[in-house]
Symmetry: C2
Subunit: 534 residues, 2 copies
Amino acid sequence: MIVGQIKMRLFIFVSLFWASTFAIRPGPVIQASKGAVWPKPQQQEISETYYLIRPHSFTFKSPDHIGCPSFLDDALTRYWTIIATTISSKLEEKLWKLDDNFLGYLEILTIKLFGECPNENILPELYDNENYTLTIDSDGAVLTSETIWGVLRGLETFSQLIYSEQDTLMINATKINDFPRFPHRGFLLDTSRHFEPVPIILQMLDAMAYNKFNVFHWHITDDHSFPYKSRTYPELSDKGAYHPVRGVYEQSDVKKVIEYARVRGIRVIPEFDTPGHTRSWGVAHPELLTSCFTDNVVNGQLGPMDPTKDITYNFINNLFTEIVNVFPDSYFHIGGDEVEFDCWKSNPDVNNFMKQNNFLSYEQLESYFIQHVVNILDTLSSKYLVWEEVFVNGVELPNSTVVHIWKDNGLSTLNNVIKAGKYGLYSSCWYLSVLHSGSDWDAFYKCEPALLLHTEEEKKLLLGGEACMWGEYVNEYSVIPRVWPRASAIAERLWSDESVNDISDAQIRLEEHACRMNKRGIAAQPPNGPGVCF
Amino acid sequence: MIVGQIKMRLFIFVSLFWASTFAIRPGPVIQASKGAVWPKPQQQEISETYYLIRPHSFTFKSPDHIGCPSFLDDALTRYWTIIATTISSKLEEKLWKLDDNFLGYLEILTIKLFGECPNENILPELYDNENYTLTIDSDGAVLTSETIWGVLRGLETFSQLIYSEQDTLMINATKINDFPRFPHRGFLLDTSRHFEPVPIILQMLDAMAYNKFNVFHWHITDDHSFPYKSRTYPELSDKGAYHPVRGVYEQSDVKKVIEYARVRGIRVIPEFDTPGHTRSWGVAHPELLTSCFTDNVVNGQLGPMDPTKDITYNFINNLFTEIVNVFPDSYFHIGGDEVEFDCWKSNPDVNNFMKQNNFLSYEQLESYFIQHVVNILDTLSSKYLVWEEVFVNGVELPNSTVVHIWKDNGLSTLNNVIKAGKYGLYSSCWYLSVLHSGSDWDAFYKCEPALLLHTEEEKKLLLGGEACMWGEYVNEYSVIPRVWPRASAIAERLWSDESVNDISDAQIRLEEHACRMNKRGIAAQPPNGPGVCF
């Protein structure tokens, strides 16, 4: 029954031919695929045989998971709704030319969740097993996984296999064995440069699930605003947010985001960047920041955090104790990037402190600061991620540290990080704030983070990567079309096999996937030029 | 009472100082102005004295226009709603520290429309008088204009002068004498590469009015789709639109767009681009397009329109007769850009035809085609715009023709156009599809189209310009944040005096204007980096 990839190959060939002759062809530049999965599964065989689906006589059955977390039930409801409402179909039965490939009406997807029934409050974690298999053949449809996370990924895949033909839902017989290439597939959102309302964050989480991202890196504070409403230090956002009420994330908002993410198998890692990128902290607590001097006279300006004072570390300790409590993930991103030394250099007290401690460089002073923060997190039993400067400047870090690489020569820095036995996370080529005219997802897609890694041991230390949406030039009105489907290119790089790097094949599937997101309410922009999504 | 621009100058100085020290400052990078007008009026004096406004006891009075077009009443309602609902205010009266500058509560704006009471069905036209004066002083507020169009522009200005301070509406005493620099201030929207639903077009028209644009150039058809539902040839969109129902503009849609534009003082100029950019015409009418050959054998592909056949011109005549009837503006954009000659070169019949007519170049053949189209429009008493190639290729054009310049060396082409006594319209530097990372409106802003024009006669032949939003990479979800506020930069270049070109002054006002558009429901993206709009 499974005829291998013959039909798919034929399909791709026809599409490429179509595209290459478009100089005389009206219509979309890239003809979208139908029922192709994004990101591409590790192994998929696809057949010409097919089922039809009538949403209202279709159900999920999951005999093994009775009593398992109710969020699996919620996921089934969510995906049933997606199938029934976002793929074009008409209720009235159409006359359909049934051919030899017709297998009947698919009425059940059986979900087999092996292994222990998970705890109701189970959290997604690094290294979760997300593997699943999905078989649709003449015997029906079965999704199997050892974990609830694999079931979620498989449901996403199942929903993407269904497509519309003459207003009828179809699904081809197929056999999928799928698993992620990398365990950390992240999306960073900066909510400091512009405030992003909670509904926008929830939409991002939906779209992340549609792309099998599994980490929401919440770059929640920065120089420009401090939108996190702390229980310990509410004055930080009272004074440092763009608005003390409309520009803050209340504790209930944060809970909502974390729970919305959790049930989609998405971890939420908060970042409270220090000692730079902290100007907004200084509105309520100027004493935390270094006083800058001009010609040995204090000039009223404030620089990075003051690394010489105990109050700085006490404050961080109190705040981070809260953060570790509010954000249940075992990782915390403590920043450490782009510390400007000018203010430290200008300050006589800082320089005296350095002499007393025999620090020969400001990098050493920065390391001293980070070492204190790292010690605080060790005490709190939290693991951490740091931006690459922390590693490059020589801070002593335990091997559990994840070094987040973002600068231009990222591949060689990554190599150094991994050679030093640390974990690496890659973002250098995945800054969504970098724009080019026209179609600009291909550079994200072609970027291969493991290029310089050769052994299996080395590759295991590369945890994955993150698409970064810095907030300077996006607001709530523009951030979703700016991110999607450009971040989808990164999602496929992080999930699919390294060999999946054919732009021509990808653009056909991305054309469908962007339209699929549109139909699910995600305001994705067009990926490939002229086209249509009805 | 009027203290000149002292306060405004002080304000700008403070803002620049603020911006230059932002390395230590949290909050928005650019602090928005309050009550600054975009595009900047030709002459404005502003005072520190001010009125407060309570929306529910504020009215427009226009004694002179009783019996004048009801759309003036509609405009007053529209602007009353904008003032009452989109500028932050609280109904309860606040304790307000009234100082010596307080002039009282402004309860009436008197509108004096001089001149004839216009016809109910009056259409905006090229060279309409849009001048107005607006005086707000201790005697109250008066808007005067000789035309209904000037009243519309003045109402927009009035609505922008009002700002919110401690949740109370304020307006400073001011004296404005305003008029546009150019009579043609256009925005081109391409609805062929992606279909843009009517509600999106109406939002664009709203935003255009907020920026004093006065021409909607509707690039309605192109290679990829033909969304205009013709009465004469409905098969063009039945077969050539992306979808025969969901991808078309019905006659009723077109009427709605034209009327929505008209009452905002915006002309609608349709473009039906020929002889290139017509692949979508060929789905229903392949006989209109040139058959392409390989080695003297027809290869099944179709090129530009076939300039050798009478049926081509008969068809265009019939269709354009309809278009001139449907679109009431006296101008019609007939395209003429980017005609590829390869297919013509390959076709033996075309080459024979050229021999018979002693054509020595394909440019001559193209000119022959355009000459026929131009003759058709002359018969229909319609004036026309053409893309620059038509002029460059030497088509004989009457002096009423407007040559639309879009290529890179636009300033010198414009110079040639004007030296030849034709009208010029400029777009070379105003392609909104050209993207750069970060803030990218300044290049649009700095572009000065009249750079090479010296005499008053020359300058008069430059009608203005158009911001062009080509549709390849924008869809209904992304087009509005892509256009706004980037097109606002072009709006100011086209309306304000040539001397208004200070980026530092502009960015403060654009920060306010983008937020103003957000509050009015336009999904504008941020212009200047980190910021906030609540």
